[in-house]
Amino acid sequence: MSLDNKTAAVKMRNITKRFGPVLANDRVWLDIYRGEILALLGENGSGKTTLMNMLSGIYFPDEGSISIDGRDVVIRSPKDAFDLGIGMIHQHFKLVDVLTAAENIVLGLEGKLDLKAASAKIREICDAYGFEVDPNQKIYDMSVSQKQTVEIVKVLYRGADILILDEPTAVLTPQETDRLFAVLRNMRDAGKAIVIITHKMHEVEALSDRVAILRHGQFIGDMPTKKTNAQEMTNMMVGHAVTLNIDRPDPVNPKPRIEVRGLTVRSIDGILKLDDVSFTANSGEILGIAGISGCGQKELLESIAGLQPVEAGSISYIEDDGRREELIGKDPLSIAEMGVSLSFVPEDRLGMGLVANMDLADNMMLRSFRKGHSLFTDRRTPKELAQAVVQNLEVSTPGISTPVRRLSGGNVQKVLVGREISSAPTVLLTAYAVRGLDINSSYTIYDLINRQKRNGVAVIYVGEDLDVLLELADRILVLCGGKVSGIVPGRGASKRDVGMMMTKLGGRADE
């Protein structure tokens, strides 16, 4: 059966949604079909999540109409959406931490509370689709991928046959992603309609049957995935032609800048987070750090920045003239003054580095408020800096006096990275700098990082997308369970080898 003679499960017509002065969706048309995976694409802030939130009852459209299976409907609340068979898996999981999986799954349903019967039904669903969920496990004991599984089981439990997934792979490892995709394909073949929001082009190409593209809240077009390619989709998303190659200029005159020897770090609970890690980061070079999430990346960067108590080992900062200075034992402020800059983007983006309720200019001031000897703080320089960051990095914001929490994720990250770079660091530590960013913003960030590299900055880049690491980094340090699994040159390394090193110390495949 071809796509054309299917009837749409969902028809959204002329959907408009405003947030104050911001037009988040502008007369959007969208059709969703059963037995098909639709990839919804667009830059950060283009209104994808907003549009889907209106379908799942979180937001209410200002204008426009929605019909399900040809019947006009009004979705006033998430409950209405469930009743229509619409289930959404949000980017930030909607789970109650202190409840068990089963309790979360039956949350909001009617009738007598019978967790035993619920658990049995959950096991049934898990068996049918190949999930593993322990109904009695508490959410706070779960890994991100387990939580996501609970979310998916939750919508299936309610009998949803229109599933929306908002950036489901952002926090998953490649293996977990593969497993998720297999499940999604199963569901599609079972006749469910699936919408997936993602920024990763290779996922769109691997998974989806059709793509729909939004730009600045407007619907640009849709087409079968087979008839398009990453370049065309990106051009449609951005609105003009972009080049999809990451630059990798050769390092200019690299000299050792940071030397780490035998670094060992334990978490507060006494768990070994880093075990005898040694490496050198050179100026004018990007050192990529690869590893499954939670393998000590965060601790490594925080040790260098002075935020993490260290059990053993040394971290030396080497100046241009060869003088060495030990960083361990120094406080974060004096390390930052030496030119070591940390731009760490945690999972929630705002957790470290920016204050959500403060505006752009004030967030710039977080780095500079100690400067000067006057009783009053200097407000002009941060304001100018904020202006410059907004202009240079194309941050889309109503103004520099907007609280950071109102910006979309990508723009928040641009502000953070922009501020860190502006302090002219000699060492730039960055983690997950492009997490959740659309392709255009990601390239802006890569470009920024490359510019720093050309200026002779030693960049340590913790990334989660191996494809990008392989294209961007000069050398890649692979961490596995807190140990150095190996250091490979970025040029010529194969994704497979690095992937093996991530999962197995030393990494050579047994074949």
Partner: protein, 330 residues
């Protein structure tokens, strides 16, 4: 020898208002509303009941009060008064999303003032020569105990010597614990307090749960005020007599780690600590007595220290406690 047979009933009677207050506040906090207006609401509950009883006694004369009406009228007035306070709190914090702490403290100030103002007016109306209202006729019905309680020795004294409101407090606390733990309504309420946007996305009407839990919680807390006047003080209202028991009730919520069933024994313990100074011979040195009065608060601080050291997730306050919720917040 420490006289337990007379100490325990005193401790229990002292604990009952705290039990009402803490059960009400626990339900409220489970919905994510930190209602610091509880002390004021207990005052309003008390004075509303007093006003009802006063009007009734005055209209028919203290000698011919009907037993049923003497209980029902103050009870209804008390529930109505504290319900309205809860409704006001919800309207401000849930519908208008005002700051919960400020609203709660304002309600406490208001409630205490409201109680003392109308209490003062009633004292004037009654033309009494002591600054108090005496409602002994009404109180005698509230204090009525089982006839066998006098003839069963120490057992009757310790377990059967209380008015019906005391047993009601225990029943309400146990029922509240059961609802929270075992029923769907309880599960939904906990979800609302932990993560309102999760609850909302699951199709739970967050506003309705917050309103219901807070208003019901206020009504339960208001009964604590009524019990204090009608039973504990034998129907005598005087200004500020209720004291800081409302705050102690809020401390009790933390002490019981948000479990009303634990609250039953904990409130008796608090009640005991509250009056311990009367049973410990301290001579004429009043300073020592004051130190003993600190005990309930010291115990609360110790519990706070221990429970945060153990750091168990289930023992933490509801995660969204004190935060307003708006679905379309960005």
């Amino acid at each position: 020898m420490f006289d337990f047979v007379s100490f325990i009933p005193r401790a229990v009677m002292q604990g009952i208002p705290l039990l009402f207050g803490s059960t009400g506040e626990t339900l409220t906090e489970k919905s994510g509303n930190l209602n610091l207006g509880i002390p004021g609401i207990m005052y309003v509950g008390a004075i509303s009941g007093v006003m009802g009883a006063f009007t009734y006694e005055q209209s028919v004369g203290a000698a011919n009060v009907n037993g049923f009406l003497a209980v029902a009228i103050p009870l209804f007035c008390c529930l109505l008064g504290s319900f309205l306070m809860g409704l006001l709190y919800c309207f401000l914090t849930v519908s208008l999303r005002a700051n919960q702490n400020v609203t709660g403290l304002a309600l406490t100030t208001f409630g205490v003032g409201f109680g003392n103002f109308f209490g003062g007016s009633l004292i004037k109306l009654s033309g009494s020569d002591v600054p108090a209202i005496v409602l002994s006729a009404t109180s005698s019905y509230f204090r009525r105990t089982l006839p066998i309680s006098g003839s069963t020795g120490w057992f009757g004294k310790v377990f059967l010597s209380y008015g019906f409101l005391a047993y009601l407090a225990v029943v309400i606390a146990l029922v509240a614990a059961y609802i929270l733990k075992r029923t769907r309504v309880g599960l939904h309420l906990r979800a609302v307090g932990e993560s309102p946007n999760t609850a909302d996305a699951a199709g739970i009407n967050v506003g309705r749960y917050k309103y219901a839990a807070t208003c019901i919680g206020s009504m339960i807390a208001g009964l604590g005020g009524l019990y204090y006047i009608m039973d504990y003080t034998s129907g005598i209202w005087s200004s500020d007599a209720f004291g800081d028991r409302g705050w102690l009730a809020i401390a009790l919520v933390i002490f019981t780690v948000w479990r009303p069933n634990v609250g039953v024994l904990a409130s008796f313990l608090f009640g005991g600590l509250y009056i311990l100074h009367m049973y410990i011979p301290s001579g004429m040195n009043l300073a020592v007595k004051e130190l003993y009065k600190m005990l309930p608060y010291v115990v609360t601080i110790i519990v706070l220290v221990i429970s945060s050291m153990r750091n168990k997730r289930e023992n933490q306050p509801p995660a969204s406690l004190g935060l307003p919720y708006f679905r379309e917040e960005r």
